[in-house]
């Protein structure tokens, strides 16, 4: 059984989904890498930001 922490699960999800988004949504290799990186940063960034919001609400 594989039991990652919540954050590791987020990182894995963001990485795999970003690779597929990059390849399928852009045409050139350079644009694919840029868009994939952009999606990854958004995935992880939104999770970190919303985590802080929930932390502050709980306090």
């Amino acid at each position: 059984m594989f039991a990652p922490s919540h954050f590791v699960a987020v990182l894995l999800f963001a990485t795999f989904a970003s690779v597929v988004f990059g390849i399928t949504q852009r045409s050139t290799p350079k644009a694919m890498v840029r868009y994939g990186a952009y999606c990854w940063v958004l995935f992880v960034g939104v999770v970190i930001a919303s985590s802080w919001v929930m932390f502050l609400i709980r306090r």
Binding site: M1, F2, A3, H6, L12, V20, I23, T24
Partner: protein, 136 residues
């Protein structure tokens, strides 16, 4: 007076074969549609990404949805799972993903499996677009 209308010469094009082969192959095996169109690096990346997402979901004790007529969310989950093609069939044949979800990570695993299927649908459509020349 004769007009100078140029009629393009008939070019011999190779037979494209079955038009939906990349779509169907890409759905059955992640990345196979891209391999068919000659984009093997994209094919490997898609196979590894979608395959890893699916098998990590199984390893996290995620649930595989079966065909059902119950809850609408279960039906949608089944449609998402179906996107994994052969992986889904292997999971069902070997009775994987049948453990009831009890841990948070198992719930994440269920989502990993569904999202892997949905990503594979996108990947298969992309392979089809490459095949018919809609995308370079």
């Amino acid at each position: 007076m004769a007009s100078k209308v140029q009629i393009p010469a008939k070019t011999q094009t190779a037979s494209p074969g079955f038009l939906y082969s990349a779509l169907i192959l890409g759905w059955l095996v992640p990345g196979a549609g891209h391999l068919l169109t000659g984009r093997w690096i994209r094919a490997v990346l898609l196979f590894v990404s979608i395959g890893a997402m699916y098998w990590l979901g199984i390893a996290m004790l995620g649930q595989l949805y079966a065909p059902n007529t119950g809850d609408i969310l279960d039906m949608l989950g089944f449609v998402g799972d179906l996107g994994n093609g052969v992986f889904y069939a292997i999971g069902r044949i070997f009775d994987m993903g049948s453990t009831p979800v009890q841990l948070a990570t198992a719930d994440y695993g269920t989502k990993f499996i569904v999202v892997a299927g949905l990503l594979n649908f996108i990947s298969a459509v992309d392979a089809h677009n490459l095949r018919i020349g809609r995308k370079a």
